[in-house]
């Protein structure tokens, strides 16, 4: 896993924009209508979700090798 996804769940309204624009289908929506990380290992840290999140609820950072 070379990326780190940070969620600010109180901000998430479950619109599904991040889920739809993720090229690797990493994200999904929970039963409560909030974003959940389904396949964290597949994340390529492209940042498409962060870019278009209207609620500033998801952030992706590339993990820096130690």
């Amino acid at each position: 896993m070379n990326s780190e996804i940070t969620l600010k769940l109180p901000r998430c309204k479950g619109c599904g924009i991040c889920v739809a624009f993720c090229p690797k289908q990493v994200l999904g929506l929970s039963e409560l209508g909030k974003v959940v990380i389904l396949k964290a290992d597949d994340c390529i840290a492209c940042g498409q979700c962060e870019l278009r999140c209207p609620d500033y609820a998801i952030f992706v950072d590339k993990k820096v090798a130690k």
Binding site: G16, I17, F21, D55
Partner: protein, 274 residues
Amino acid sequence: MERSFEQYFRQNRLPHLWCPGCGNGIATKAIVQAIEKKGLDRDKTIIVSGIGCSSRASGYMDFDTLHTAHGRAIPFATGIKLANPELNVVVITGDGDCTAIGGNHFIHGCRRNVDLTVVLFNNNIYGMTGGQASPMTPTGKKATTAPYGAVDPTFDACKLAEAAGATYVARSTAYHVQHLTDMIANGFDNKGFSFIEAMVQCPTAYGRKNKMSDPVELMKWMRDNAVMKAAWDKLPEDKKVGDKFPIGLLYQDTEVDYATAYEHVIEVAGGAGK
């Protein structure tokens, strides 16, 4: 890692009140990122907004902000700019606020070439009041006041701004976030009236009426129909059909801005009595 743009938001006001999937949040972030990119001094940047969904943005942004009367954001901003020409004045307005209620203020702001940066959040409808058709609802699209589709031809706010005398006219969408940020940032550089139309999706009022209640569908519509200006100019006329529209820097010119012209008048009249 905490993002640096977060400092420009009033944290105790978030999450914002906009509907799930509303594009206003994306456009607001684009504005603060453009401000950050250009390194504008926070104490010398004023956000002025009118009334409507879009205009709620000023309440979330941690600057000196002014939430004004419906359609009257540009006159208030003109006053601020003339009182203190050092300030960077950003106006946030909506399609109804800017082209209907404030239509006259908008064209005269353009005509005077006041040094403002006006960002119009175009969601094609009056969202907050219940989905009435606005002057920018596309012809044939439904709204609560146009149940059989809007009859009125649509305003092209960019052409209107250009014709009225604005010196920087650009358009972008909530799908093209980085492009939108760049268009706004370049607007700050222009000394004169900068107008940026940001197409944003409204899944609740516009989308539901027009069988596009999923914000993702509306964003894909933007992705598929927006054509960059350079490509648009090369496009043959018969391909410019349907929903296709140009985005990018549509018009630029250099003219004397209003504050400078006014400064000259003050000088001729014998100074401001300092």
